[in-house]
Each structure stands twice: as structure tokens, then as C-alpha cells.
Amino acid sequence: MPPPSSLKQEFLKKWMMGLHICSSSKKNMSILERKKAIKLSADIALASARNGTTCWSQAIIVNASQDDQDKILVQHVLGRESERLMKKGSVLPLTSNKRIRSRKILRRSCGSIRRRARKTIATSPPKVVAISIAKKLIRKRTQLLKRLVPGGKFIMDEISLIEETLDYIISLQAQVDVMRSLANAS
């Protein structure tokens, strides 16, 4: 994973590029229009900093390319890579052989509740109820996470989902830091 400061620099550079393109193509935008332009440029800049190596960045690029106007912005900011990345079929197939097993490992690795529950599973039904409730919670929250991370619905196994989430959170933090510094400096 590249160091955060170079990520911020890359993001800033691409974001400014996008902003200039937006403002040159349309003078006198309303506040709402400008806000959307700022946010769109920021998201595309963030995605291009990963250059299509992650599922979430590709999903952002593909989604933006659906709209004719936004597509132009994508092409300018991404440059040569844009044609390749805008194709929907190039979304990384993030399935793996470890599907069901990884789900079990994930639950086993987090917290000692599981191990205690396995030992007493024969003797105390309330623990069994607790496990099934926990399983439902995990399933529900995993679905929610998949909806929050762009392109999450294409990710099949939980290991990749966690990796994508991790990278996405780091990138979002960099995005927020840069935007906040700019807002405070103005």
C-alpha cells in the first residue's frame, strides 16, 4: 500500500485537474452544480489514484462513465488508462475458492464467544440461539457493507471484501483530509 502522503498528493493533483476541466466547460455554475462537480472530481481523482487496481475504484469509474458528461471528465483525468478502465467487463472478478470456508474462519477469528459456545452447545440452548442471532447480524451487516463500498455487490468472498474495505477507508480518509485542509485554508 503506497504511503498516505503520496496518495494525498496524487489525489490533489487529479482533483484539481478535474475541477479545472469542470469550471472551464461551464462558467457560472449554481452552488449545487458546483458542489456536485467538486464531489465528482474528488471521487474520480480518488479512484484514479488506485488506477483500476481495486474493485471499488473501477466501480466508481464505470459508474461515472454511464453519464455522457461525466464520461468526458473521466477520460481527461485518467488519460490513457480511461478506455480500458471504463469497460464494465474489466471489473475484477473477485471470487475465490475460499468462499464458505473463509466465512467460517472469519467468525472464528473474531472474539472468543464462538469457542465458548461450541463447548457448551450440547448443554445450553440459549448459547445456540445467541450464535444464530450473531450469524444473522454478521450476514446483515456484511450486506450493508457491500452496499456502502462501491462495487461491493461484485465481491463474492469476505477476504476480498475486507481488503477492499480497508483500501477504501484509507482512500476516503485521505480524501477527507485534503478537502478539509483546502476548506480551512480558503
Partner: protein
């Protein structure tokens, strides 16, 4: 700790440690759990914290975009200020 678990579970040690490492990395980035300093955080809790953290980050980006949009609209008229800010950024 992780080796004890993998011996008991009988699953390949590599995937077990890999997931534990990923989850702990994830927890390091979540502001609330980091302060708690406990190893026994359940998976569902980590997922919940992650989801609410991402939602917060999205909201912050939205608020900052709004703020920047208002700021930029006020300095647009004065091109000298805009040029200064641009030169600071680039």
C-alpha cells in the same frame, strides 16, 4: 494466540492468520474500537463500526463539497484571490 486458534480449528494456518491480520488492520482504522484496546471484539461489532465509519466519511465529503462550493462561489468574482489559492495548491 492466533497459532493456538489455528491448531484447534484444523484449517490451513495461512488463511486464518491472513483474516485475523486483515481484521486487526481494519480495526486500527476505526476510531472507536482503537480506544477500547481489547482483542475480543466480535466480527459483527467490527462490521457495524466499519459501516457507520464509512457513512460518516461519506457525509463529511458531502459537507466539505458543500462548503467548498460556497467558498469558491464567493471568490470566483475576485480573480486575484482565486489565482493566489490556485498557486498555493498547485
Amino acid at each position: 494466540m492466533s497459532s493456538r486458534r489455528s491448531r484447534q480449528s484444523g484449517v490451513s494456518r495461512i488463511s486464518d492468520d491472513q483474516i485475523i491480520e486483515l481484521v486487526s488492520k481494519l480495526r486500527q482504522h476505526l476510531p472507536e474500537i482503537r480506544e477500547r484496546r481489547s482483542d475480543k471484539v466480535s466480527a459483527s461489532k467490527v462490521l457495524q463500526e466499519t459501516c457507520s465509519y464509512i457513512k460518516n466519511l461519506h457525509k463529511e465529503v458531502d459537507d466539505l463539497s458543500e462548503r467548498l462550493s460556497q467558498l469558491l462561489s464567493t471568490i470566483d468574482a475576485d480573480s486575484a484571490e482565486a489565482a493566489i489559492i490556485r498557486s498555493l495548491i498547485m
